[in-house]
């Protein structure tokens, strides 16, 4: 496995680990935007961070070798 794959895999695992935000477990405060408990706001932000990281993965870890370049049928 080359260095780039190791780094991308490690970062993905770190993001996976950040899902376990035990520090927000027993508190609702602060309320983000005045009504979102921190435990919910954190995971909403986590979801957006996942989208951003996936864009990085698509850019740097796209399996080009699997695509034979052919297509079938019509575009929809």
């Amino acid at each position: 496995m080359d260095a780039r794959r190791v780094i991308l895999t490690a970062c993905t695992l770190i993001l996976f680990a950040l899902h376990q935000d035990f520090w927000n477990w027993r508190t609702a405060y602060p309320l983000v935007f005045g009504f979102l408990p921190i435990g919910l706001a954190y995971h909403a932000a986590y979801t957006l961070a996942a989208a951003a990281w996936l864009a990085v993965l698509v850019q740097w870890a796209w399996p080009d070798h699997l695509d034979d370049g052919h297509e079938r049928g019509s575009h929809e």
Binding site: F16, H19, W25, R26, A28, A50, A55, P63, L66, E76
Partner: protein, 540 residues
């Protein structure tokens, strides 16, 4: 009742789209055209249909119902973990499924397993396991459809009729529209729900006097403030849930759908935008489910909270039948519809109700997937396609769709379990534990059919064991009851909603043992031929 009329209009629109719209000449004449839309879906349909296929009544009614009872933890349990895990699976395994399907002409994962591991009966066993695990998931749609129509019509349309209507509509457009019709219906459903979901948040928020007000009400009540934290779920359970999204790629309707993309690049935007779609659907559903607890002016909300308090209290003396009734009254599966009914004007509630109908009717792709599996993995594999031809193969698929839908409907009439519970206990854990098979087949040259067999037998035994254990032991109304302990550690516990192993959900040990068995047994058993390995992985 206006809402029920809108839901009826929605069903008619779905029927039109599924049966008549977007039909292409000849698409229904070949098996590839009927079951895989000719492998020609573009990026737009691929993203929204895949998302709509994955997010079912479980996501909408199940999530708001679970959040109503358990609080904001619901989002972290299933949504945010899915936001990372599912797209990573699509990127790493979905693209390889697409490639294997395109290169070797496969329609189903079982075809890939049989080809890759040079096996026969192990493939049949995997088919049987996947079919058995998929059936409860199909039931979710039936139960969801019946529940929503009953609530929208204020009880005028009984549960049996609502479920029946949903079953008939799905049956018709899946039979006549095949994968293309189903994909377009799912796209329409997803867009509809995304659009109306935003309207639902605005209308309900205003009706509640603003979300700040709703949250303040919850924080002021000690019995409800905990819903805004995660104190009702242990860290072990929370961690276990991060393994459940693995199930996505092992669900036949998702893995088969991966083979419908016209080009591999169709996965790119799907992978990136999948978390955004999750956020747009799950965050409002979970938040509204929690906030519903502040709407105590609604009698049905108060009734649910009273039943929940009864279950949480020292009420172990309740007879089983009464306990089941109390659980049913406490269930929040219809809480979103109750809120709409109360806060939205009738015409808007109708439109929004149609949006909810859109979300609960995702059984179509699962039924089509089962039909594809049966015709390809059983009918065609055992030589009937060669004997009778492609037309007979498609006809068999259509008859199978009818049989599965009718069976699912009849079972849905008799199943009392909550939507969330039903999905979580069997289908998700079982499919998650099958993921090592996909990784082994598509990434590891050393995996063998014997390793796969060991893994499949383990998953079968584990699912059957948990189902037996939960049937044999009554669900406690209070804290979990330990049935087997090692010193201080409770190894096997029966909880109110299921089973835990050393505090974790069964999905965790099931998946880890499945991977371990695949690895161990593959190490000591003969590999497939070099020719097969070269076809899949190239020369060493």
């Amino acid at each position: 009742m206006t809402a029920a009329l809108f839901a009826g209009l929605y069903l008619a629109a779905v029927l039109y789209i599924g049966v008549f719209a977007f039909r292409r000449g000849g698409a229904g004449q070949s098996a590839e055209g009927y079951f895989l839309a000719g492998r020609s879906l573009g990026g737009f349909v691929f993203l929204f249909s895949l998302f709509g296929t994955h997010m079912t009544a479980f996501a909408i009614l199940g999530s708001s119902g679970h959040a109503f009872s358990n609080g904001i933890v619901t989002y972290g349990l299933m949504a945010s973990s899915s936001a990372l895990v599912v797209p990573v699976l699509l990127l790493t395994l979905g693209t390889r499924l697409w490639s294997a399907g395109r290169r070797f002409g496969h329609f189903t994962p079982v075809q890939i397993f049989r080809d890759r591991w040079e096996c026969n009966h192990t493939g049949t066993l995997i088919f049987l396991l996947q079919a058995a695990l998929l059936l409860p998931y199909i039931l979710i749609g039936m139960i969801g459809g019946g529940t929503v129509l009953r609530t929208l019509s204020a009880g005028v349309i009984p549960y049996w009729a609502g479920s029946g209507l949903v079953a008939v509509v799905i049956m018709i457009y899946v039979i006549f529209g095949g994968m293309r019709g189903t994909a377009w219906v799912n796209t329409f459903q997803t867009l509809l729900f995304l659009a109306f979901g935003a309207a639902a948040v605005a209308v309900i928020g205003r009706g509640m006097g603003g979300f700040e007000q709703a949250v303040s009400t919850l924080l002021a009540d000690p019995s409800l403030a905990g819903l805004l934290t995660r104190e009702r779920v242990s860290p072990e359970i929370f961690f276990s849930y991060a393994f459940l999204p693995l199930s996505a790629i092992a669900f036949p309707h998702i893995s088969i759908f991966c083979m419908t993309a016209r080009r591999m690049r169709q996965f790119k935007w799907t992978v990136i935008l999948y978390p955004v779609c999750i956020l747009l659907i799950w965050l409002p559903c979970v938040f509204l489910g929690v906030a519903a607890n502040s709407a105590r002016e609604i009698p049905r909300i108060r009734e649910k909270q009273t039943a929940r308090a009864l279950l949480a209290g020292p009420a172990a003396w309740l007879p089983a039948a009464e306990a089941a009734q109390t659980r049913s009254r406490a269930s929040g599966d219809d809480v979103l519809v109750v809120l709409l009914d109360h806060y939205a004007p009738a015409w808007l509630a109708g439109l929004l109700g149609a949006g909810i109908m859109a979300a609960v009717m995702a059984s179509d792709s699962q039924i089509l997937a089962l039909s594809t599996m049966f015709t390809e993995d059983i009918f065609a594999w055992y030589g009937h396609a060669e004997r009778y031809g492609a037309r007979a193969q498609i006809a068999t698929g259509r008859i199978f769709v009818f049989a599965v839908t009718a069976t699912a409907y009849l079972i849905a009439l008799r199943v009392p379990a909550g939507i969330f519970e039903l999905a979580g206990q069997y289908a998700f854990a079982g499919f998650s534990a099958l993921v090592p098979l996909y990784v082994g087949a598509l990434y590891w040259r050393g995996s063998t059919k014997y390793g796969a067999l060991a893994s499949v037998l383990w998953v079968m035994a584990a699912v059957a064991g948990i189902a037996w254990f939960q049937a044999a032991t009554p669900a406690p109304m209070g804290p979990p009851v330990a049935y087997f302990s090692l010193g201080e550690l409770a190894l096997l516990q029966r909880t109110a909603s299921g089973t835990t192993i050393a505090g974790y959900l069964p999905v965790l040990p099931m998946t880890l043992v499945s991977a371990l068995l695949l690895w161990l047994v593959s190490r000591v058993t003969p590999k497939p031929s070099e020719a097969t390995l070269t076809r899949y992985f190239g020369r060493r």
